[in-house]
């Protein structure tokens, strides 16, 4: 892994970019991949990555054929941006009828044509809390998406961003860097969609920055059904200014190892963050959802509700942290996580955490791990419903609460269907 990283000449853009990349690469070589001694990686080991060699890019990514069915998602008929094995595909994307005020540019194109405006992003100094993967991304990110919404613009249709993992003969490791910026009073819906048919076991390392200016509203839905061989590592840093709102939904179904570190900084007064997420795992899947919320502004609100289901030999990890900074009076934070363990070989590790440095606050969290209620199962069976169907019904109901707010309705229905298909076979 490290050898692969070192072997690749990091870009050949303007001098400042090359410098920044070299610097990040050096920092990465010093730091290495995160290991389980790091608090945020306590339950997710990346040992397997170190033994795997990843091709630095897929040479044929631009020409691979991708079935249109794979890209389609109910409720997403508007603008679409498609990445295949980490490469932006203009031919598969639909970016011609963008509403006025919404600009969208692939990072690769931006770096070739006008990289200077991106200097603030690509050559920024690494934060102290950046781990090895983020540094690696800084060094190697070759593509990504720059999305900007002008002040006051309200995009009516959701932006559909598809990440496709296609079979490429050998495992490919790609690094994408996204930037989403909503101006004052702007509003946008993004649907992040991971699909794949690859048998090669790719590695995707995504780093995203999201800025919501005053009164902006972002509705973000993640539908993750990447191939069962994929390692999908994501880190998202969101900053919310005064009165900004972020509604986040996640349905995590795919991947061999799927991790998302979602950091939300409620910097402005009355900023609001709500998240609803669920993962349903079987086989040897490993999912890790980290939701790290920082209340900095006054009267900020955060509310998270996560559900996890693990069957077979799967392992689910949830970490919800609410940090209230000094001066963030009037903060109200909540994190609730419930999990179902369906098999004797599955494991759930959950950590809700509160760090409170202000006194005018309300902060609550709750977490449970358990199994389906035998009485309810018995009731359903007594009504003539076979055991297996009854189990599926209950698991579906258990997760469905996290899908409730997904917009539009057709997308929510599609997610419900996906969920039903995914439900692991339970053992009697």
């Amino acid at each position: 892994m490290q050898a692969a990283a070192a072997a690749r000449p990091p870009g050949c853009g303007p001098a400042w970019l090359d410098d920044a990349r070299h610097q990040a690469l050096r920092a990465f070589m010093e730091r290495g991949l995160p290991d389980t001694r790091e608090e945020l990686w306590k339950y997710t080991a990346l040992r397997a990555l170190q033994q795997q060699a990843y091709a630095p890019c897929d040479e044929d990514a631009a020409s691979r054929s991708v079935a249109d069915d794979l890209l389609r998602l109910d409720g997403c008929a508007g603008p679409r941006a498609v990445f295949v094995n980490g490469t932006f595909r203009v031919d598969l994307s639909r970016l011609d009828n963008l509403p006025e005020g919404l600009t969208l540019q692939p990072l690769s194109e931006a770096m070739q044509r006008q990289s200077e405006p991106l200097r603030f992003l690509l050559a920024a100094r690494a934060d102290e809390d950046e781990d090895g993967l983020t540094l690696l991304n800084r060094a190697l990110a070759a593509d990504g998406l720059i999305v900007r919404v002008a002040d006051g613009v309200r995009a009516s249709q959701p932006l559909h961003v598809v990440h496709v993992g296609a079979s490429a003969g050998s495992a490919v490791g790609w690094h994408l860097r996204d930037l989403i910026e909503l101006g004052e009073g702007a509003s946008l819906a993004v649907v992040e969609h991971h699909v794949g048919d690859d048998a090669s076991g790719h590695l995707a390392n995504l780093v995203r920055g999201v800025t919501l200016r005053a009164n902006a509203h972002l509705d973000w839905t993640v539908v993750q059904r990447a191939s069962r061989n994929t390692t999908l590592l994501r880190r998202t840093d969101c900053v919310l200014h005064d009165h900004a709102e972020l509604d986040f939904h996640a349905l995590e179904l795919g991947g061999k190892l799927a991790r998302h570190e979602l950091r939300v900084d409620l910097a402005g007064a009355r900023a609001r963050f709500a998240s609803r997420g669920a993962f349903v795992l079987d086989g040897r899947q490993h999912a890790d959802s980290e939701v790290l919320v920082t209340h900095r502004g006054r009267d900020t609100l955060s509310d998270s509700l996560w559900r996890g289901v693990a069957g077979d030999r799967a392992r689910g990890v949830v970490h919800g942290r609410i940090l209230v900074q000094p001066g963030a009076d009037g903060s109200d934070g909540g994190f609730y996580n419930k999990n179902l363990l369906l098999s004797p070989t599955a494991e759930i590790d959950t950590r809700p955490a509160l760090e409170i440095y202000a006194d005018e606050v309300k902060a609550n969290h709750g977490a449970t791990v358990g199994q389906l209620d035998e009485n309810v199962l018995f009731y359903l069976r007594s009504r003539g419903i076979p055991l297996d169907t009854a189990r599926r019904m209950l698991v579906r109901a258990f997760c469905a609460v996290t899908l409730d707010g997904i917009q539009p309705a057709s997308l929510r229905e599609f997610c419900e269907t996906l969920l039903a298909e995914q439900l692991p076979e339970t053992e009697a």
Binding site: E39, Y43, P326, N339, L341, L342, S343, P344, T345, A346, E347, I348, D349, T350, R351, P352, A353, L354, E355, I356, Y357, A358, D359, E360, V361, K362, A363, N364, H365, G366, A367, T368, V369, G370, Q371
Partner: protein, 479 residues
Amino acid sequence: MATQPGEVQAALSRRYGAGFVTDIESHSLPPGLGEDTIRALSAIKEEPEWMTEWRLAAYRRWLKMTPPNWAHLKLGAIDFQAISYYSAPKNKPKSLAEVDPKLLETYDKLGVPLHERAKLAGVAVDAVFDSVSVANTARDQLAKVGVIFCSMSEAIREHGDLVRQYLGTVVPQGDNFFAALNSAVFSDGSFVFIPKGVRCPMELSTYFRINAGHTGQFERTLIIAEEASTVSYLEGCTAPMRDENQLHAAVVELVALEKANIKYSTVQNWYPGDENGKGGIYNFVTKRGECRGDDSRITWTQVETGSAITWKYPSCVLRGDRSVGEFHSVALTNNYQQADTGTKMIHIGRDTKSKIVSKGISAGRSQNSYRGLVKVEKGALNARNHTRCDSILIGKKCGSHTFPYMEVKNPTAIVEHEATTSKISDDQLFYCRSRGIGEEDAVSMIVDGFCKQVFRELPMEFAVEAKKLLEVSLEGAIG
């Protein structure tokens, strides 16, 4: 509270309070730690060869370890070579007149009986107060039913086989940095053995133990409850203890065999440092109980109000089927105190149950963290855990944190955790004040109500004192 290593050294070598007479000690080792020190220490205590070797093995493991840094604590590096690892009782003031008047003032507030103050203040006991007769009566009573209750040094000499069989089986020598240090240099502590079927006729307390006056900074306690026996053990005292040592690293091991029941209650009120965060005890404690037999039960109850730094996680290893572990805690921090405390419940046997109730109160500029782990192993069929963590904040500059970990590997387990953090409710305060209750009294009333659930678990006389202790500890926090 970032401290420079130099300051820590200075703090470590500093004596608590002024005005103590310096006697020339009979036995004491120069500062520093090495195999020679440990051999010398073991020789002074007239320990058998196996004990010396056991200490040395621990020391060799300790050398390879690094101090833990995961706790939510800010402290400078501790120079372990600057500490003297053995000193016989010393520096005793000859009468109450020589004791820090502030300390006496606190005793007044706590309502400590006059004759006990001298002992608590560390005045040489035989000079003022006859505790020997009380202790002797207790001893006779215990001996009649076969209970062994003595100091660890005595146990090593007289009940070597028992000690050898159980010592280090719950907290192994290399368990963690501070436990390894303790294993190498432990000074003294209590040893309790309750034979099969015996219900200990009284609450055991260090208070009644002869020679308990000076257990030193590396306390080691071992409690063994044989089949179907019951014991309740009280540690510490509500009154602030005068102590000249800055670093404390204790280890407590509990072993509960089949159907045994151990209740371990602690009130910790070591010197917390002054209002500006100067001085105070560093308290790094490893406490663990093992429910080794089926149907056994271990209950930890703690009221933590003292120490500049508290690092303490009384845990239960629920190995026996149907065993039960409980943890009830009140942790109060004020001024610049830092506490990182909680518990671990490790479910291994079938049908095991655990319950955690933690109440945190932070005031002043203090930081108070709950850190807990509930782990359900693969074979722990039908494990059940419920955790409740509440914290209140008094003041704008303090912090209150909750770090629970839940690791579940068995699908029949039910593990629940809930936590809340808020400040004292304005409505409640307003109500109390509208009924003519002053603000300070109202706060202490509300805090008392907040902690009730834990106080209920304490032996009665402790509970009464604990309430007063909270009042005293909170002084100056309001307004």
